[in-house]
Symmetry: C2
Subunit: 198 residues, 2 copies
Amino acid sequence: MATRTDAPTRREQILKEAARLFAERGFHGVGVDEIGAAVGISGPGLYRHFAGKDAMLAELLVGISGQLLTGAKRRLADADGVTPEAVLDSLIEGHIDFALDDRPLIILHDRELDRLRDSDRKLVRQLQRQYVELWVEVVREVYPGLTEPTARSAVHSVFGLLNSTPHLGRPGSLPGRGATAELLHRMARGAFAAAGAE
Amino acid sequence: MATRTDAPTRREQILKEAARLFAERGFHGVGVDEIGAAVGISGPGLYRHFAGKDAMLAELLVGISGQLLTGAKRRLADADGVTPEAVLDSLIEGHIDFALDDRPLIILHDRELDRLRDSDRKLVRQLQRQYVELWVEVVREVYPGLTEPTARSAVHSVFGLLNSTPHLGRPGSLPGRGATAELLHRMARGAFAAAGAE
DNA sequence: CAGAGAGGTTAGCGCTCGTTAACCTGAAGG
DNA sequence: CCTTCAGGTTAACGAGCGCTAACCTCTCTG
């Protein structure tokens, strides 16, 4: 996968700034003029790139859910012949990378879902559900004693743990990205282990 | 502590419904008319009880933070001569009770803080910080190997885990309140233990 | 029984917001 | 060189919002 070297398109600029603003002050708390100003154009100019404010949020949320799911599927495919433990570690690692590198998106992801149009919301929910089920299967391979509902609750709880990074203070106050990632990883494994030891 | 048997006051009705609506659709997503309708009066009638919509949110958030902190302090005071482990268990239990019984408030608590006036926000932040520090101290007694920043990160992460209950589906789909509480408790302890075993 | 105050009502003001309309401009292309 | 069109601009509209004003009506209480 080649890393992009070309400049971001205007659409991408807008999405990035919109994500940041939505995460900071909520979907309804941000005006289109502000989003425009953040990329150097003014309010209505956005409508050359998006059908409306709703469309920006929809594209963001669908994008996030899709990325998470795609990444997890790839990790699962890459892990042929390795232990379930290693697969789970890979999933955790991927989620942590996402949570640490795209904090605004992680915030939006479970905060503004209800502001979507019905069809978009259904799509996002479906992607999220697939992502969860994928985790549930792996977790149950590692901890066969877990019933499916219990495993699902455990997965949701660990997501809560991993997604807590936005509350960990501004990026500077952390003990360093690597250490934080490692701490989160250990805690996630510890939480699963405790759930599995009924 | 006598459990209340008298009917809730109008103010309390309003706060409860406002909390539910704010949690469902966000502070900016709910109109005063809706809040009024939820308690059987119409929009402007609310202003006989609150100075404005902001005041409702402020009272809710200050109330939550204060309740959490007060409860934790009481638990700490009650635990004289017991092991640090037992104190930590008591804190976890209290937080879980809150998360399971007052889900709308838990959602508001870390989602709408930025909509407050400066002075109110500072107050809430201060109460939250005290609550966190209280946990940090207890956690470090149980796991002396943890540095303070690491312990604080761990505490925030466990809050994320415990506060994930809103994502666990509607109250009916859970494996039962008792089982859920027990699962969350075990996972929280497991996460701390993993954090402490550097 | 008069008067006051608590707790409602409806009408409407002023502001903000998302969106559209109409217009402008610079670069590409036959 | 004229046309086209992508990508901007400003003006303005219509809806919805929080909130106030003005008024009404019970229920106490001196």
